[in-house]
């Protein structure tokens, strides 16, 4: 019984330490300034459909859903998934990313709502590389 109490106390200390570390990380991120970019969703289309962002920097992406319906911003390459409520702005943070092309789409209207984020330096990618990206 005494051993059990000792183990639970140890676990409590561990949980407290983890919470403290997470709090420090969260506070640091909350204070950091991020460059802001905006994308508008209108009639199930993203404007601009292509945008360029700097490499190896975290950016703030504001998505303004001007449609009357719900949409879900989705990107496998960016690891992002965000519900966009009608007539509301949503914020997500992207990066830091290595140069390349990262596509995103509206999960509820994937045929029309599509876009591309180009990270600086991606313009240098050769067509053969691009084809390889498309295959993946």
């Amino acid at each position: 019984m005494a051993n059990m109490i000792k183990t639970s106390r140890g676990l409590n200390k561990l949980a407290l330490f983890i919470s403290f570390v997470l709090l420090v990380i969260a506070s640091y991120n909350a204070l950091a300034e991020r460059q802001e970019f905006t994308v508008i969703l209108k009639k199930h289309l993203f404007y601009p459909a292509e945008m360029t962002i700097p490499s190896n920097k975290k950016i703030k992406l504001v998505i303004d859903n001007q449609d009357d319906s719900i949409e879900e911003f989705d990107s496998f390459s960016l690891n992002r998934e965000k519900v966009l409520f009608p007539k509301r702005k949503s914020i997500i943070y992207i990066g830091p990313l290595t140069p390349g092309r990262y596509d995103f789409f509206g999960e509820y209207h994937p045929s029309s709502a599509r876009g591309l984020i180009i990270v600086n330096g991606a313009e240098l990618i050769t067509p053969s590389d691009k084809e390889a990206d498309d295959v993946n």
Partner: protein, 309 residues
């Protein structure tokens, strides 16, 4: 619309079928183990021993499961109704914070279930009293139902949003409902097939390698859920995200069918960051380590009690 409904259904509802399959497989594996034990016991001991074993085997009664699913549906409807307001809390980070808490709770409950399984197998080995074993079974039963409820609420609410988004649009009513109904029927068929196949694979594996294998699969599923929660916190900059360590997209693309399935089954991530990798590994290692401590302490207590008697 039909194909998209099937895809969205698979992405959001498959985890619910997978967790049901895992929970049933855990019960099935235990049932087999208990049945084997019962046969052995009945050969050696009195006849009523087998009845006692059968009463412990009833891990997850179907009626409780159906009640939980029913209750889950009500929460799903409430969640999807208030989701828009929820998303505006904490400077637009409300939804991510709320869902990451739910994902962490899923992981927490799975860890508790994992530790209960370890404790139960130890108690069976040490032939503890029936009352002790029943208390532990009841605890595990409640935890399993909470896991099911949480998974249903988290993943079901996203699909419920999709259905809501379709009903808001000015699409013809026939096209709309045929799209939703047929899509849901096809999606359910695929999910059921995968869940049944997974169940039989797990039960067969448990037969060959020991029943703990199912608990490990459940733990991996939980770790996958925790990683999803972590990604939500990274998305709103609460937790720092780094450049991906590697990319295995050329082997298994995350947006492929296999990628989807592996992501749900054990949180497959083609481009993990340092933080994700650290959390992933520690989320597996810590519960296994704690389970080993529990086994060690129970063995020590049992041997010291034998020594005193």
């Amino acid at each position: 619309m039909l194909i998209n409904t099937v895809l969205v259904f698979l992405q959001n509802i498959l985890p619910i079928f997978v967790v049901i399959s895992l929970l049933f497989a855990q019960q099935g594996a235990k049932g087999q183990f208990s049945a084997q034990k019962t046969v052995q016991a009945s050969n050696l001991l009195r006849g009523h021993q087998s009845n006692q074993d059968n009463s412990i085997t009833a891990d997850l009664p179907l009626i409780y499961m159906l009640k939980t699913i029913g209750f889950g549906f009500i929460i799903v409807l409430l969640l999807s109704y208030f989701m828009a307001e929820l998303s505006q809390l904490f400077l637009g980070k409300g939804l991510e914070i709320f869902y990451s808490i739910l994902f962490s709770l899923i992981y927490g409950c799975i860890v508790v279930s994992f530790l209960c399984t370890t404790e139960a197998s130890q108690e069976q080995k040490q032939d503890k009293t029936l009352l002790d074993q029943q208390t532990l079974t009841q605890k595990k039963q409640i935890v399993s139902l909470v896991i099911l409820l949480l998974v249903l609420c988290v993943h079901g609410s996203y699909f419920s949003l999709y259905v809501m988004s379709l009903t808001i649009q000015n699409t013809e009513i026939d096209t709309l409902y045929s799209g939703i109904v047929v899509g849901v029927i096809i999606g359910t068929g695929i999910c059921l097939s995968i869940a049944i196949l997974l169940y039989f694979i797990l039960v067969t594996l448990a037969k060959k390698t020991g029943r703990k294998i199912v608990s490990y699969f459940l733990l991996l599923f939980g770790v996958g859920q925790l990683i999803q929660g972590l990604q939500l916190l990274e998305q709103v900059d609460i937790i720092s995200s780094n450049v991906p360590l590697w990319s295995t997209n050329y082997l298994i693309a995350e947006n492929s069918e296999l990628g989807y399935f592996l992501t749900i089954l054990f949180g497959y991530e083609a481009t993990p960051s340092v933080m994700e990798l650290l959390v992933y590994l520690s989320a597996i290692i810590v519960p296994i380590f704690v389970a080993k401590i529990i086994v060690y302490k129970q063995n020590t207590t049992a041997s010291s009690m034998k020594g005193t008697s």
